[in-house]
Symmetry: C2
Amino acid sequence: MKLWLEADGKLVMSDYRVRLLEAIAETGSLAKAAESMRLSYRRAWGKLKELEENLGYPLVESASGGESGGGSSLTDAALSFIVAYRRFQDRVTADMDRAFEEELSQIGPQARPSQ
Amino acid sequence: MKLWLEADGKLVMSDYRVRLLEAIAETGSLAKAAESMRLSYRRAWGKLKELEENLGYPLVESASGGESGGGSSLTDAALSFIVAYRRFQDRVTADMDRAFEEELSQIGPQARPSQ
C-alpha cells in the first residue's frame, strides 16, 4: 500500500514527507534532515515548500540566527498534522492487515488449484 | 491510496490488474478487455502472464477454437481471487475513509493556524 493525502487534488502529505518532517523535528535542521534521508538539500527544501504551498500555511520555522545559523523547527500546525497523520497511517495499516487476514489469507497465492 | 498485493516480493494483484481480469470476464476476450482499458494487446497479455507467473497458476483459459477464435475466460481460481480482492479493497477503502474522518478531517488543510 502506498498512502498519501491530497487537498483539492494537490499533495499535502505522504508517508515519505511525514518522515522528512519528523527528521527536521529530530535534528533541528533541514540540512541534517535531508542528509539523514539521503536527499539533497535542494530537493528536501523543494518538497517542504511544495507541501507548504499546497497546504497554505508554514510547516517549518527558522530560529533566530538566520537560515543556516539558527536551525529549523516544526510549527505547531505541522506537529499537530504529523501526529494526526501517523495515527491515520497506523490505523489504515492495521485495518489493512486485518482485512487481508480475513479476506485474502486463505486465497490467492496460497489457493493454488490442485492439479 | 494505492493498493496492491505481493507474494515473496512479486506483484500478484493490483487495483489496475483486477480491472483487467474483470474486463476479460465481461468481454470474454483478452483483446476486447485490452481495448476497453486502452492497452495494447501485447501489454495486456504481458500483465496477465506476469501475474500468472508470479502466482504460479493460470488465471485465464482459452476456449476451444484457438487463441483468437474461442475467446478467453477466467479460471475458477482467478474468479475466487478477484472476488476476494474486491472484498479486501472495499474494506480497506471504507476503513481508510473512517480513519481519515476520525483522525484527520479536523486537521491538516482545514486546520490553518489563525494569523
